[in-house]
């Protein structure tokens, strides 16, 4: 019989059958380790009441520190990740720039533009895009029409197309904060924080439109 097979408690409780009892007893007479264990068991049983009063073992003692450290690490990594990988797309303002009602414009726009303006005003972005593209065929240099086309594209999540149009506008008028604002929000939606920051900074350093909005948005951007 090996030590691992010895049921000391069963032996002391007389729970073993006669052959098992005899085997354990024989093993005990020849094994000093098991004799020692038996002595210790008897001593512990004698002091049972004192030993029972020990505080219960924490269930996960031995693993508590690694687990706690792991949790703290996960929390820190999560915090760091949230700081650095904040879903900046949610910060982006997606509301298209409101179009000045055509009837208030002077000179009064042409009918082609009016159709686009109606679609734009009603939030029918795809129709507005079609109408504006149509209009731009005959008025390719119309800055305002291009700007609203960029907005209509942006509203349909056609970000790349919108960006191409806005880039042209920016080249033509680098000081237009409306274009900067739209480009900055486009950059955020594409998770390009640096580009967004650069454009927002430009807005805040100018006295034009979207100054307050750009300042507020800059504060929300992760560092």
């Amino acid at each position: 019989m090996k030590c691992e097979e010895v049921d000391l408690i069963g032996f002391l409780q007389s729970d073993l059958d006669s052959s098992q009892t005899s085997s354990v007893a024989e093993h005990l007479q020849g094994c000093t380790d098991c004799q020692d264990r038996l002595r210790l068991v008897l001593e512990m049983r004698k002091n049972r009441k004192e030993l029972e009063r020990l505080k219960p073992a924490p269930k996960s003692r031995g693993y508590a520190w690694p687990i706690a450290a792991g949790l703290v690490l996960v929390a820190l990594v999560g915090y760091w990740y949230s700081l650095n990988h904040q879903d900046v797309t949610k910060l982006a303002v997606v509301t298209p720039y409101p179009m000045v009602p055509p009837e208030l414009r002077s000179p009064r726009p042409q009918d082609e533009f009016l159709a686009a303006a109606r679609a734009y005003g009603s939030g029918n972005w795809s129709a507005a895009e079609v109408q504006l593209r149509q209009y731009l065929k005959s008025h390719p240099e119309d800055y305002e029409a291009m700007f609203y086309l960029a907005n209509a594209l942006c509203a349909q999540n056609k970000l790349s197309e919108s960006e191409v149009v806005l880039a042209k506008l920016e080249t033509r008028n680098p000081q237009d904060n409306r274009v900067r604002w739209l480009l900055a929000n486009l950059s955020l939606r594409q998770r390009d924080i640096q580009a967004a920051r650069r454009r927002l900074d430009a807005i805040t350093h100018s006295a034009g439109e979207f100054h307050e909005e750009a300042t507020a948005l800059l504060k929300k951007l992760p560092h």
């Binding site: 409780q13 006669s18 264990r37 049983r45």
Partner: protein, 182 residues
């Protein structure tokens, strides 16, 4: 208990009873004394069962318990013998300062051992402490089989955990010079 049944069982299982006693008290002469004492206790007891299996189990328990009593008494007796020896050498009166000092030392030693056992118990891995608390420290512990069924841990694993736990405590006692001391 039916004395015929008892005598019959005693005659048939005397070797087993000696084995049990010898394993616990670790002295053939004392084991013989233990077996005789157990037999006397059995004769004087009122065994409520009737089957020979129940009677045999009862007798084994009496032998085991008597052996444990002798074991503890033997340790105590050995200490008292040491005290007597010391007394004989110095020949002081029973309540002499030397006697009191030796008794105090014995108590201190017991206390130290118990403190080490307590400390080591709290340091044991939970699975080892669990098995020791549920097998060693229970007055009527569950069997390994029952514990294995309730925890889903194989019996061999439970036994190994108990051995590891006991060995850890024993090793600490040894390191502090408290193992192998009467």
């Amino acid at each position: 208990m039916d004395s015929c049944l008892l005598e019959d069982l005693w005659a048939r299982h005397q070797r087993l009873f000696r084995h049990i006693a010898c394993a616990i008290v670790r002295d053939a002469d004392i084991a013989e004394e233990v077996v005789q004492e157990a037999f006397r206790r059995a004769l004087g007891s009122h065994f409520p069962g009737s089957s020979s299996e129940e009677a045999l189990l009862y007798l084994k328990r009496i032998v085991t318990n008597t052996s444990i009593d002798y074991y503890h008494h033997g340790r105590r007796q050995a200490l008292e013998d040491d005290l007597d020896q010391a007394n004989r050498v110095a020949d002081p009166p029973a309540s002499s300062p030397l006697n009191q000092l030796l008794e105090q030392e014995r108590q201190d030693l017991e206390k130290k051992r118990l403190n080490v056992i307590k400390r080591e118990m709290t340091k044991l891995p939970p699975e080892q402490r669990f098995i020791i608390e549920n097998l060693v420290l229970q007055e009527s512990p569950a069997t390994l089989t029952a514990l294995s069924q309730s925890t889903g841990v194989p019996i061999s694993t439970l036994r190994s955990r108990m051995i590891l736990g006991l060995d850890r405590i024993r090793e600490s006692l040894r390191k502090e010079g408290l193992w192998g001391v009467k």
